[in-house]
């Protein structure tokens, strides 16, 4: 099957599909962040804008995608899926849509890999940009914040659509034929949002954004579905922190940026007459070069070599991109984002290069939302954070996890994203992911430009520190005292029983 495809073409095709998959995930997740996306056009090509589209790369998302792919490519029977789900503040969750990147067996042998396939993949990405704003989950994701958040989960393998409920609809974004199969991108989305809308509007918005969970059973870790996802959010690590994302730069391969035109050769002319019009455009010998500095020699069919990007080149290209004022760089590192908590968010923003204030503000700078990411053990403990929990039947956790003894942090601990990502490794299953937070946007607050005082205010008051009187020592102490003093009090009351009776009669 592959005998018709030259090794160079095969290599290019694999690279295109790999980066197409990564960019697809970026587009989908970014479309569900709840913000408007804005990227700049640039007339001078940089080496790192795959498919000639300015799509930012959120490092965490790339990391998750690569983790799910685990070195494989989408192939026949192996689809890459991005599942978007919604989780309410009460802990209910619901799958909203599943985006599937699949490959089927229908091959298009005659198509030019390095030109036609590349351009068609670019058009498909543009279509994805348009369609992600059209499905119902987009509107939901724009309104996320206090009542619910939007999560994503990437998995590889068989497509699972059972969580979408009955009557889900499918929309096909597009297909691109390649010599090894046809790439198909589609979305299956839930239409039955009924339970969602009831819930959403029953709760009135709390004034201070405090979660009312006094009488709700704490969700035990066993109740968490096995496939919870990542929130549509990220927090970029500090520059110094090699972190889990050090590898991103190295893998930032230079994408094809240079094409060539030349008169069709004899061979291609004769093939033209047999080809359907769709491939007429492919008749040109257009062979991209990986590096714009390397000119191609056109006019020789098949004589052009696609130079693969070496990591040094890739890194160089990436670094130059970082300094270019027009392109903020395809990874979030460039924006100098802060990594934690509300207080540092402002610093992060201010440290962004002033030449791109708009991008920096639109860049994914923050966020800590209402439901902060904590490692799973801490979540269990924190949910026992009830008043009078000392009197509630316990036996679930040992004392060291008891929040009465050790109150959970408030505000949320710095870089819970990293904490969660590190803890994921220890969990083993790649699907048992923790949550990172989604942008928290309180009502009536202004968009973007200034540090969100209102948001900070909400957040601080959502997690007030424990009341001292509720801590175990004091409560148990006072109870003991109370019990001791009870007999004396009873004696006094009995003595004055007549007075009490008279008082009661007076009231009646």
């Amino acid at each position: 099957m592959d005998s018709d495809l030259s090794p160079q073409d095969k290599k290019d095709l694999d690279k295109f599909i790999k980066f197409f998959a990564l960019k697809t995930v970026q587009v989908i997740v970014q479309a569900r962040l709840g913000e408007k996306i804005c990227t700049r056009s640039s007339s001078s090509p940089t080496g790192s804008d795959w498919f000639n589209l300015a799509i930012k790369d959120i490092p965490e998302v790339t990391h998750e995608a690569k983790k799910a792919l685990a070195g494989q490519l989408p192939g026949i029977g192996r689809s890459m899926c991005v599942e978007i789900s919604l989780k309410t503040s009460e802990g209910d969750s619901m799958e909203l849509e599943t985006w599937c990147l699949e490959m089927n067996e229908k091959c298009d042998k005659d198509i030019k890999v390095s030109y036609t396939v590349y351009n068609r993949l670019s058009v498909l990405l543009k279509s994805l940009l348009a369609i992600t704003r059209v499905t119902p989950a987009y509107k939901l994701s724009r309104k996320q914040g206090h009542d619910y958040v939007i999560l994503y989960r990437i998995y590889f393998g068989e497509v699972q659509l059972s969580g979408l409920g009955e009557g889900f609809q499918t929309v096909r974004v597009g297909v691109v034929g390649t010599p090894v199969g046809t790439v198909t991108l589609s979305c299956a989305y839930r239409t039955n949002l009924a339970f969602m809308s009831n819930r959403q509007f029953e709760r009135s918005a709390p004034i201070m954004g405090i979660i009312v969970d006094h009488f709700v059973d704490p969700p035990c870790s066993s109740q968490r579905p096995a496939n919870m996802g990542q929130p549509c959010n990220y927090r970029a690590p500090d520059e110094e922190d090699g972190g889990p994302f050090a590898g991103v730069q190295d893998s930032q391969e230079v994408c094809t940026t240079s094409f060539s035109t030349s008169p069709p050769s004899q061979l291609y002319t004769s093939r033209l007459s047999y080809q359907p019009p769709a491939l007429a455009g492919a008749a040109d010998l257009c062979h991209p070069a990986a590096n714009p500095n390397q000119a191609l020699h056109a006019g020789k069919e098949g004589g052009v070599v696609l130079v693969p990007a070496h990591p040094p080149h890739g890194t160089d290209a990436h670094l130059t991109v970082e300094h270019a004022p027009n392109t903020p760089g395809s990874s979030g590192d460039d924006d100098g984002l802060s990594q934690s908590g509300e207080g540092r968010r402002d610093e992060g923003r201010r440290s962004v290069s002033p030449s791109d204030p708009v991008e920096s503000l639109n860049a994914f700078t923050r966020k800590v939302g209402a439901f902060v990411n904590k490692p799973s053990t801490q979540i269990t403990a924190a949910s026992l954070d009830l008043p009078f929990a000392a009197f509630a039947p316990r036996g679930l956790d040992s004392e060291e996890n008891d929040p009465m003894v050790q109150p959970p942090d408030s505000p949320p601990c710095p870089s819970p994203l990293q904490a969660s990502l590190h803890s994921q490794g220890s969990e083993g299953s790649g699907q048992q992911d923790d949550f990172v937070m989604v942008d928290f946007r309180p009502a009536f607050s202004k968009d973007d430009l200034l540090p969100m005082d209102l948001g900070t205010f909400y957040r601080e008051f959502q997690n007030p520190p424990q009341l001292a009187s509720l801590s175990l020592h004091i409560s148990s102490q006072s109870m003991a005292d109370d019990l001791d003093s009870l007999p004396e009090k009873l004696a006094v009351y009995e003595k004055n029983i007549d007075e009490f009776d008279a008082f009661v009669d007076m009231l009646q």
């Binding site: 804005c38 000639n52 589209l53 059209v134 455009g281």
Partner: protein, 218 residues
Amino acid sequence: MNCRSEVLEVTVEARQVEEAMLALLHTILLHRSTGKFHYKKEGTYSIGTVGTLDIDCDFIDFTFVRVSSEELDRVIRKAVSEFKDALNNSGSDGMGQISLEFYQKKKSRWPFSDECIPWEVWSIKVNVVNLANEQERQICREKVGEKLGEKVINVVEVINRHEYLPKMPTQSEVDNVFDTSLKDVQPYLYKITYQITDSLGTSVSTTMRRLIKDTLAL
């Protein structure tokens, strides 16, 4: 080659006309624009990068994506605004059609002027309604938003059939295929025309042909 022709129909309120047209025209142009070509020696060229921008509509529950190019946006807005004014001035019925045509230029010998050969035409038929009260308007907001979503899906479906596209031109031919006048992006050569249907339903009572781009006067 045959010119591909697609028709989209929408029914909107008067104040939604502009945004609905912008949404559809920009969606089509997003797919039909590339980055700027930079030709180098020996027939090679590199392509610039196209950025995108989300635009929320004010009168419709809808968000669309357009190319990040202020120049292009200005041109499209101007055309849509003229169409909207023509619709308003035409009469009570409010039916009209705006067409986005992609074409290629073919050089002819003197004294014949260059031919413009269309290869894809998108016609958007608009039907303007008047609504009586605020509740109906609110429903209309959502409904038109959904309809536009369906239209975007239609557009994407057509484009992803990957039917005829002009071949990539050499440097000397690039102006016959692409509109190279913009600084940051390069759409295929296009023109926008519109016509207003009068109240009798007969077409072309007023046909105004406006060449928005600096193509040759025919």
